[in-house]
Structures are given as structure tokens and as C-alpha cells.
């Protein structure tokens, strides 16, 4: 007899998320046989941008997400620079990479310690870390105490990485420094020295605390090296431009299918968003983001989410640090809960190692800005990477104002609902097959969902599912 379990809210993420799983015994063991993932808030950000001055897009779209504001600023600026055929100064390219690198690192540390760890380890014995589900705790008292200390140390590390970013960016989150045409802050020697000081602190934390903790957790919960695989399709747009045109990138663009070793190129034209199960007008389904629409139809037969379903050549893809590391040939183990955590820690280290090198290239007092006026009529896309995966901004300018804006975020890829072919989204797929020891405390579901680091604040199309016949509502 199948049991439908609802977890609402799933906490420890950005925004609002609800998960419905159907649990049924398979070979006598209860496991997830079906899953529906849904954001429970809708912002409609894209329609709010219409009629604004194009140059404001980097400022406004940063407010899509307070955790990964920087990549939104970068994607918007890139799109506008492409529209204006404008090449930014080297210093600006470097400063953007440095600030975005810091932004990735803070997001990854925050994710592991503050958003994920409490699925495995008890927190300090007080609110907001109590009450907590009473689930299998395999980490001994001594290591648990150390993890709690590291939880606090990681808060400090996150704060310090944000300070590092703010040295150049003015402040974090929501820096005003990302503008079409470059960067606003002319770097001083003192700023470069200060940023370098932070690099050392951050690298030490990743090497001596974060990376070993990820391994310790993996060793105590070995089955999560197999669980939560999903489709195994991985996609990256590539991020951190290494040349003025952005053709060479520190993290490469590419995709792999079902765990195959060969990396295929990414053609942005192959990206469409499907809405059969989303609360949008069906006439807008399977469109490219450059022609996409955000026309709400709610209620709508068969729909259960405001999240659209992005697909590449009609197929669902997982995106994120694991995709980037695998596509770059930097990580070759597999696709699972632990592989996602490991790849995230590895990526933090790769970025931390790159920061001092990029810093060496920054010219103190050198130019950071060039005038970049977009024409009255233009269209372009800005594709980059955010901490949680591939990020794209598509815009059209008409009469000198924003006439069309579509954002496809990493969590839209990962957390998408079923598509026009009723194919589940990557997180939905990854949940299927997960054993559930206690249907009243399905911690296994949280561990798998959190491994994707969902960011519903980013998934700008999100809303709620229609009500199935719930048996247990948690």
C-alpha cells in the first residue's frame, strides 16, 4: 500500500520548497517510488524587469538571489556587453572573476555546514537547531562536537569570504560594482594586498576543515556514495572568463549524457523550457528562452508547479559543481549525494588556488570601465555559471528599454517538474529508489534534496503543486 509523504517546508535552503514522495515496499523494503518537487513561492521577476533601463539589469537581477547575487550581475552584464559589442578592460574581467570566485566559495561552505550537515549531525542543543528529527546519527560524540565547532567556524569563514569579495565589490551581498562595461571599483594596491590576506585564510579553511569534513561524512554514510544518482546527465555553460571575449573559461562548457565519459559541446539554441506541468500557458511550451514567455495560467489541468522545465534537446540535465568538475575532467568518480558534496569541496579548492594567480594579474590603479551603451534595439544572452550550476540570462531591448527578459537558473534545471513528455526533473528522478527507514522522518529524502543545493529564491518561476491525496504530511 503506497504512502504519500509531504515535507513542507524543506528548510535549510534559499526560498520555499515542498517535496511529495510516494513510498512503497520494493522487495520488502520501503523506498521512494515517485517524487514531486515544487517551489512554493512565485516572484515573476522577469515581467518586473520590462521597461527598465537595460543598464540596471545587473543591479536588479542580483536581487533574484542573496546567496549567489554575483553570477546574476555577471550574466546580465555579459548579455548587455554582447548586445553592445563592447569589450571590457582586463582589470574588470579579473575583478569579476575574483569577486565571483569568493561568492562561489562562500556559497559552498554555507551549503555544506549550514544547509546540509544537520541532516547527519545534531546541532547545538537549542533553537533554531532544535527540534530536529531523531534519525540515524553515526558520527561519534567527539566528531559530532567537532562538527558543531566547525559549524560555527564555517559561519566565520562565510563572513570572511564575503568580506574578501567586498574589498573590491564594495559590499556583499548585492554589490553595485557590476555594470555593463566593466566594474566600478578602481583597485588600489592596498585592496589587492587585503584580498590576498583573505585568500590565505580561506584556503586554509577549505584545506584543513571543509575538505576533510566532507570525507569524514562520506566515510560514515557510505551508501550515499550510491544514492541520489538521478539521470547522470550533466550540463555546464562554463564560467570565469579567461579572455576578453569569454571564449576561454576556467570551468569549461560542455555536457555528458548518462554518465558517458565523452564531453559534448553545448549549443545554447538547444535549450528550451517546457510547461506542460507548470502553471503557464501551453502555447509557450518548448520555446527557447530568447522567445520564452512567463504567462501565468493558474489553476491549469495537469500542472503542479510554477517552475518551468528547462530541457536540452528535450532531455533533463543536472547542473552544478559536480557537472562542472566532471565536464572539466577534474572529477571522475560518479554521480551521487556524496559525489555532489565532494565535487563542491574540490571546486572550492580549485577556485581558492586560482584566486591568487588572478590577483597577480590585476593592475593597481588600472582601468576597469569602458562606456557600453546598448542601442535602442538589441538582443543577446549571457551564459555563465553560478554556485549551483549553469545560469543564463536572455534579454531583448526595444526602444532603449528592456522588452523581454528570461532567466534560466540552476535550480530550474535541477528542481524542474515533469516536462511535456511527463519525464521527471533531475531531483525528482534522484529521489526514486531511495530507501526510507521511517516514513515519518524521511531523512533520506532531505539528504538527497540538499545534495543539489536547491535555491528557490533563484528559481524565479516557482509556485506550488496541486494537492494529491496525502497520507502523511510532515
Amino acid at each position: 500500500m503506497p504512502t504519500v509523504v509531504t515535507i513542507d517546508p524543506v528548510t535549510r535552503l534559499e526560498g520555499h520548497l515542498r517535496v511529495d514522495v510516494t513510498i512503497d515496499p520494493v522487495d520488502g523494503k520501503p523506498q521512494v517510488v515517485d517524487a514531486r518537487v515544487s517551489g512554493t513561492s512565485f516572484r515573476g521577476f522577469e515581467t518586473m524587469l520590462v521597461d527598465r533601463a537595460p543598464s540596471e539589469a545587473p543591479h536588479l537581477t542580483q536581487r533574484i538571489c542573496g546567496v549567489c547575487s554575483v553570477p546574476h550581475g555577471v550574466a546580465a552584464a555579459m548579455a548587455l556587453e554582447k548586445a553592445a559589442q563592447c569589450t571590457i578592460p582586463e582589470n574588470a574581467r579579473l575583478l569579476r572573476n575574483l569577486v565571483m570566485g569568493a561568492n562561489f566559495i562562500q556559497s559552498h561552505i554555507l551549503h555544506f555546514y549550514h544547509l546540509s550537515l544537520l541532516d547527519y549531525v545534531g546541532g547545538p542543543g537549542m533553537p533554531p537547531w532544535e527540534p530536529q528529527w531523531n534519525v540515524d546519527r553515526r558520527i561519534g560524540a567527539e566528531d559530532s562536537a567537532r562538527f558543531v565547532d566547525h559549524y560555527k567556524a564555517a559561519l566565520k569563514a562565510v563572513r570572511q569570504v564575503n568580506e574578501m569579495a567586498a574589498v573590491f565589490a564594495g559590499r556583499q551581498p548585492h554589490s553595485p560594482a557590476f555594470v555593463p562595461g566593466g566594474f566600478t571599483n578602481v583597485p588600489t594596491k592596498a585592496q589587492i594586498d587585503e584580498f590576498r590576506k583573505y585568500c590565505g585564510i580561506v584556503t586554509d579553511f577549505i584545506r584543513s576543515v571543509y575538505a576533510p569534513d566532507v570525507e569524514l561524512l562520506a566515510s560514515q554514510y557510505p551508501e550515499y556514495g550510491q544514492l541520489g544518482r538521478g539521470y547522470g546527465n550533466l550540463l555546464a555553460f562554463g564560467g570565469f572568463a579567461l579572455d576578453a571575449a569569454g571564449t576561454s573559461r576556467f570551468f569549461a562548457a560542455g555536457r555528458t549524457t548518462a554518465g558517458a565519459a565523452d564531453v559534448q559541446p553545448v549549443n545554447p539554441e538547444a535549450v528550451t523550457e517546457q510547461v506542460a506541468c507548470s502553471w503557464y500557458d501551453n502555447s509557450s511550451t518548448d520555446r527557447r528562452p530568447s522567445d520564452g514567455a512567463t504567462q501565468a495560467v493558474c489553476p491549469k489541468e495537469g500542472a503542479y508547479s510554477w517552475l518551468k522545465a528547462p530541457r536540452y534537446e528535450g532531455q533533463p540535465y543536472e547542473t552544478g559543481p559536480l557537472a562542472r568538475m566532471a565536464i572539466g575532467g577534474l572529477y571522475r568518480k560518479g554521480v551521487s549525494v556524496h559525489d555532489r558534496h565532494r565535487a563542491r569541496a574540490l571546486e572550492a579548492m580549485k577556485i581558492a588556488e586560482a584566486l591568487p594567480k588572478w590577483l597577480d594579474e590585476v593592475k593597481a590603479d588600472g582601468p576597469v570601465y569602458t562606456n557600453c551603451a546598448t542601442g535602442a534595439e538589441a538582443e543577446a544572452a549571457g551564459l555563465t555559471e553560478a554556485p549551483r550550476g549553469a545560469l543564463g540570462h536572455w534579454l531583448k531591448i526595444r526602444g532603449g528599454k528592456i522588452a523581454h527578459y528570461q532567466v534560466v537558473t540552476p535550480t530550474c534545471w535541477n528542481g524542474s517538474p515533469r516536462d511535456d513528455q511527463q519525464k521527471p526533473g533531475p531531483i525528482e528522478k534522484a529521489l526514486v529508489g531511495a530507501p526510507v527507514a521511517d516514513a515519518k522522518q524521511p531523512i533520506e529524502v532531505l539528504r538527497i534534496v540538499h545534495s543539489f543545493d536547491p535555491c528557490l529564491a533563484c528559481a524565479v518561476h516557482v509556485c506550488r503543486p496541486s494537492d494529491p491525496a496525502h497520507v502523511i504530511v510532515l
Binding site: D8, S41, M126, N162, V167, A169, C463, R464, H470
Partner: protein, 312 residues
């Protein structure tokens, strides 16, 4: 909550000095914090980006509590925070409903379209609770309602343009004045200092827009800005010049950013070569982030006296 509050009191002495409070006023705080039945804190998130939470986590001070971890462990009994709470599912609704003596912090605007279903913070007994209902219900019993950030305080970015989810400020949604720690995001010290005063059981004096008067004291940002009239920037990409001609909101914004600085005092917006975008203003983001160009030109959307200001 059993953890050292002595350290917290030490901090409060420093913080209060900066807020202009004398030692005798700390007696109230000591009593409030020593009382096991003292107020707890609920932090809700509506239509927003979690940026105010991240900003809060960036809190740092030279004296104890030194950072956000210290605040969470040694001072505020934070019963619920969606990004930090360990619990999930219906335990959230239970924890929130069990709270009796609490200060309500609201981050994000209140969407009212789709019958409130554009934002569901939790389910209760299988029923999805709309955010607007949660805020209204919890505000009724709250000792204080504090808006964390411009979206909660005035609608902000979340109510921008076509406002497709009909986002309202908390004040509009509950029909009651709120304390507005505005900013997109607000500075972490503004959040913590306001909370400290409320934990003392004090009334927070506010300006005409509901912002804490100790922080938003009526002085223009320009009056505190080291770059004011230090050569006039005519283009972005220059250092240490006045941004007024580029549309800086400093002439109308009362934000204390030039003195508080940001992120452990490493920098702030204008020091990074940007005009102030006026993110603490009731009208932010208006129809333009910048004021009309040129000194003496017509006032842009960041001007004072916006229609949606709160009072307390």
C-alpha cells in the same frame, strides 16, 4: 539559551554606548535576558532573495558576541529561521504555533495575488498556509514586528514594476505600523542593534518611514560622505570622486553607510566607485535606480516621503 549571557551583556554595553544608551538603561536588558520567559525571536521569509539573512550572517563586532554564531547562541532565542532551522515539515508549523512571547522578524514582501498562494512558508495539518495569513496571525501576538529589509518594509524589489504577485509591505498586509530595518540588504549591525534594543524591552524610536532613528538620524548620506564634492565623476570607473552627477542617491538617502561601512568595514558602495542606489528608501527601486542627472535637477524616485512609509 542556557549559554553565557554575561558575554552578551558585555557586548550590549558597547553596542548601547554606540546607540547612546547609558549604563542605567542596561539594567532593563539584564533583567530581560535573565528572565527565562524573556522574548524569543521568529524570523520569517516571504517574497525575497534571502539576501537579508546572508547580510545578518555577515555580522561582526570587535567585542562579544563577535559574530552571527555568537548572536544565535548567546543572545537571541531564535525559535525559527527557514534557512537555519534543523527541523523540517510540520514540526515547523508546530514550533511557530507554540511561540507565545516573541519578536517577529519578517524578511521579504507579502504576496497577495493567487489568493496568497504565491508564497507558502509551511503546511499545517496538511493545509498550505499562505504567507500573508502567517504574517497576519503571528503579528497579532508579537511583541514587536520588525521588517528586515526593504521588501518587507516597503515592498522593494519584490513589488517592482508590474508586481505580478501583488506584493505588499508588511505594514500594508497587517494594517499596523512596523519597525523598518530597511536596506537591500540592510547592514547586519542595523539588524542586531535593533534586535538588542527590543530584547531590552525598549521602544525603538523611528523616523517618518519607520526606520530606527538612532541609525537614520535625518542627516543625508552626502553630509557624512568623504567623497562629497571631491571632484565630480562624469563617468564610472573613477576613484574617490563625488557621484552626484551620475545620479547618486546620497543627497536624499539618510543611510549611515559612510560611517558604518560594510562587511567588517572593508568598503561601501560609493567607495567602490558606484553611485548610491538608495536601497533603504521607501520608493526603492522606483522606476530608475539613479536620480535625474545633474546637480539641482528634479528629484528622482529615491526621494524622501514615499507613500508607503511606516511609523512606529
Amino acid at each position: 539559551m542556557q549559554v553565557s549571557r554575561r558575554a552578551f551583556l558585555k557586548y550590549c554595553a558597547v553596542a548601547s554606548a554606540s546607540l547612546g544608551l547609558g549604563p542605567e538603561e542596561l539594567v532593563g536588558l539584564e533583567a530581560a535576558l535573565a528572565d527565562p520567559a524573556g522574548p524569543s525571536v521568529l524570523w520569517l521569509q516571504g517574497s525575497g532573495c534571502s539576501g537579508c539573512t546572508i547580510s545578518f550572517l555577515n555580522y561582526v563586532s570587535p567585542s562579544e558576541p563577535v559574530d552571527a554564531a555568537d548572536v544565535l547562541i548567546k543572545s537571541a532565542n531564535l525559535v525559527y529561521h527557514p534557512t537555519l532551522s534543523a527541523g523540517a515539515g510540520e514540526s515547523v508549523a508546530a514550533a511557530v504555533k507554540a511561540a507565545t512571547n516573541y519578536i517577529l522578524l519578517v524578511e521579504g514582501g507579502v504576496p497577495t495575488a493567487f489568493g496568497g498562494h504565491a508564497c507558502i512558508p509551511w503546511s499545517d495539518g496538511g493545509r498550505e498556509v499562505p504567507f500573508q495569513e502567517a504574517v497576519r496571525t503571528l503579528a497579532e501576538k508579537a511583541k514587536n514586528v520588525v521588517c528586515i529589509g526593504t521588501c518587507a518594509a516597503y515592498g522593494g524589489i519584490s513589488a517592482m514594476g508590474a508586481n505580478p504577485t501583488a506584493v505588499k509591505s508588511v505594514r500594508e498586509a497587517i494594517g499596523k505600523d512596523t519597525i523598518n530595518v530597511s536596506g537591500c540588504p540592510p547592514h547586519p549591525n542595523w539588524i542586531v542593534e535593533t534586535l538588542v534594543q527590543l530584547l531590552q524591552g525598549k521602544t525603538v524610536a523611528v523616523d517618518a518611514q519607520g526606520r530606527p532613528a538612532s541609525l537614520f538620524d535625518g542627516r543625508r548620506m552626502c553630509d557624512q560622505c568623504p567623497f562629497h564634492r571631491t571632484g565630480e565623476a562624469r563617468s564610472l570607473g573613477v576613484r574617490g570622486q563625488c557621484m552626484e552627477a551620475l545620479g547618486c542617491q546620497g543627497e536624499v538617502s539618510p543611510s549611515p553607510c559612510p560611517t558604518t561601512l560594510w562587511n567588517n568595514r572593508v568598503s561601501w558602495c560609493v567607495a567602490a566607485g558606484s553611485p548610491c542606489l538608495g536601497c533603504t528608501q521607501p520608493t526603492f527601486p522606483g522606476t530608475s535606480l539613479l536620480r535625474s542627472r545633474g546637480r539641482g535637477g528634479p528629484r528622482g524616485p529615491g526621494g524622501p516621503g514615499g507613500p508607503r512609509g511606516g511609523q512606529n
